[in-house]
């Protein structure tokens, strides 16, 4: 019982610091997912291109990401990129998360593109549209609609994954929980508190994705 009261005390008293962490989690997630989306789109298009070498590049990238843990990717980028460019930890974190999610998003988009009926491409081409224009105006808009549920799911995963950036020192939600736990020599209530914040974010995003799905279903 006292444990529960203690948890509520912690939850309420730590509101201000967690709001700071919450903001950083959101910045991290939004920035990394936007970049991941562009990376994913790029590699999806490489994969469906008919150029073998481009397909190999995309395959290699996806294989690397799927074959190694995110935490390794983040650390390699954080320590490894210093040879090329010294990213601060926010952008190193964004780069690591985007690099990671990008591969999964590439697979989602590729799947969605390939699920669009070939007749759509043929209709576009037969009207004199170039293959690029057909892709951009006809195929991709349909593919994105179809990909909304999977993309939404991947975005939720991306937000949760951003917690690992705390290990390169970011004070996002999980980082705040860790330092608060350390300050107070008492981790459990802070980790429970941060779990509640994540649950809320995921819940809100789930509802948004469902709404988007419904809205898009209307025109189909």
């Amino acid at each position: 019982m006292s444990g529960i009261k203690h948890f509520f005390d912690v939850f309420i008293n730590s509101f201000d610091v967690f709001v700071e962490g919450f903001k950083i989690t959101i910045y991290l997630s939004v920035a990394s997912l936007l970049i991941a989306f562009i990376i994913g789109l790029f590699f999806a298009i490489l994969k469906i291109s008919n150029v073998k070498i481009l397909q190999w590049i995309a395959d290699a990238y996806i294989w690397l990401v799927r074959g190694t843990p995110l935490i390794v990717q983040i650390f390699v980028l954080y320590y490894g990129l210093t040879e090329i460019i010294l990213l601060d930890k926010f952008w190193a974190g964004v780069a690591g998360l985007a690099f990671h999610s990008g591969a999964y998003i590439a697979e989602i988009i590729r799947g969605a593109i390939q699920s669009i009926d070939k007749g759509q491409t043929e209709a576009g081409r037969s009207l004199g549209m170039t293959s690029g224009l057909t892709m951009r105006r006809i195929i991709l808009p349909q593919a994105f609609r179809r990909a909304v549920p999977s993309l939404g799911n991947q975005f939720i995963i991306g937000i949760k994954d951003s917690s690992l950036v705390s290990f390169i020192g970011m004070q996002e939600l999980f980082g705040v929980a860790s330092t608060q736990g350390s300050n107070n020599f008492d981790y459990l209530p802070f980790y429970l508190t941060v779990a509640v914040y994540y649950l809320i974010i995921v819940l809100v995003l789930t509802v948004l994705v469902n709404m988007l799905e419904k809205k898009m279903a209307q025109s189909d």
């Binding site: 009926d117 007749g119 759509q120 043929e122 209709a123 576009g124 081409r125 037969s126 009207l127 004199g128 549209m129 170039t130 224009l133 105006r137 006809i138 808009p141 349909q142 609609r145 025109s219 189909d220």
Partner: protein, 248 residues
């Protein structure tokens, strides 16, 4: 395919097309004059669709000549996208763009490919929709239309590019029987307006009434061709007789 000094819209000579080891079109010769309606018939797999798709360069021939309005079109020397603007195509399964309204489908290519202004494209698009009898449907999405309506929108969409020739690949065979008529009559009007058309169809009534020339294909070759009354009523070749016997 009446001979004479009429303008030759399409001339095909010794056209060959293979998919891997499969030789699908074998030395095809074909001429289509301006305002002619040429009907392609033949059993499934005989190569009708492939021929049509070669005329629109959705498939690239292996050898032979394809001349469109006097230009011999080669992948190397021509921008095929430009050629496709002049050759409209209507598909069996309509292939409307589901994420765009009926009018959105129609103005897509004129605005994006020809660079016509949106206002102008909308004006012309609405006229075309009136013409195919769907003037009131411009703002709905394709999913709300019947098959026959979809196919008429597809025809209007192809016409919006002001093509010189229209190709139809079994435009009515995905339709419920009661909806076939509305599409055929739209096509007949188009023919009456003087559009040059190449039509793959199993609708023999249409071929007889609207066709100027009927081509019977079998196994990648043109077996026999002629004006409808000759080909249907007095086929010269045994294979043609057999085929007509099986479908009539």
């Amino acid at each position: 395919m009446s001979e004479g000094k009429e303008k030759e819209m399409i001339k095909v000579e010794k056209l060959n097309k293979s998919f891997g080891d499969l030789h699908v079109l074998k030395d095809i010769d074909l001429k289509v004059n301006e305002s002619d309606v040429v009907v392609l018939i033949g059993a499934s797999g005989s190569g009708k669709s492939t021929l049509l798709r070669c005329l629109n360069f959705l498939e690239i021939k292996n050898s032979g000549k394809i001349v469109i309005e006097g230009d011999q079109i080669e992948q190397e020397t021509h921008d095929l996208n430009k050629v496709r603007e002049r050759v409209g195509m209507v598909f069996q399964h309509f292939n409307l763009f589901p994420h765009k309204t009926v009018l959105g489908n129609i103005i897509e290519a004129p605005t994006q490919v020809k660079g016509i202004s949106k206002e102008q494209a909308i004006k012309e698009g609405k006229l075309l929709l009136d013409k195919v009898g769907l003037g009131d449907k411009y703002n709905v999405y394709p999913s709300t239309l019947s098959g026959g309506q979809k196919q008429r929108v597809a025809i209007a969409r192809a016409l919006a590019m002001k093509p010189d020739v229209m190709l139809f690949d079994e435009p009515t065979s995905a339709l419920d029987p009661e909806l076939v008529g509305e599409v055929l009559s739209t096509m007949k009007e188009l023919a009456d307006d003087g559009m040059t058309m190449v039509v793959v169809t199993h609708e023999m009534g249409f071929a007889r009434e609207v066709g100027d020339w009927v081509v019977y294909m079998h196994d990648g070759k043109i077996v026999e061709s002629g004006i409808p009354i000759d080909l249907f009523d007095n086929p010269r070749k045994e294979r043609t007789k057999e085929f007509l016997g099986s479908i009539l």
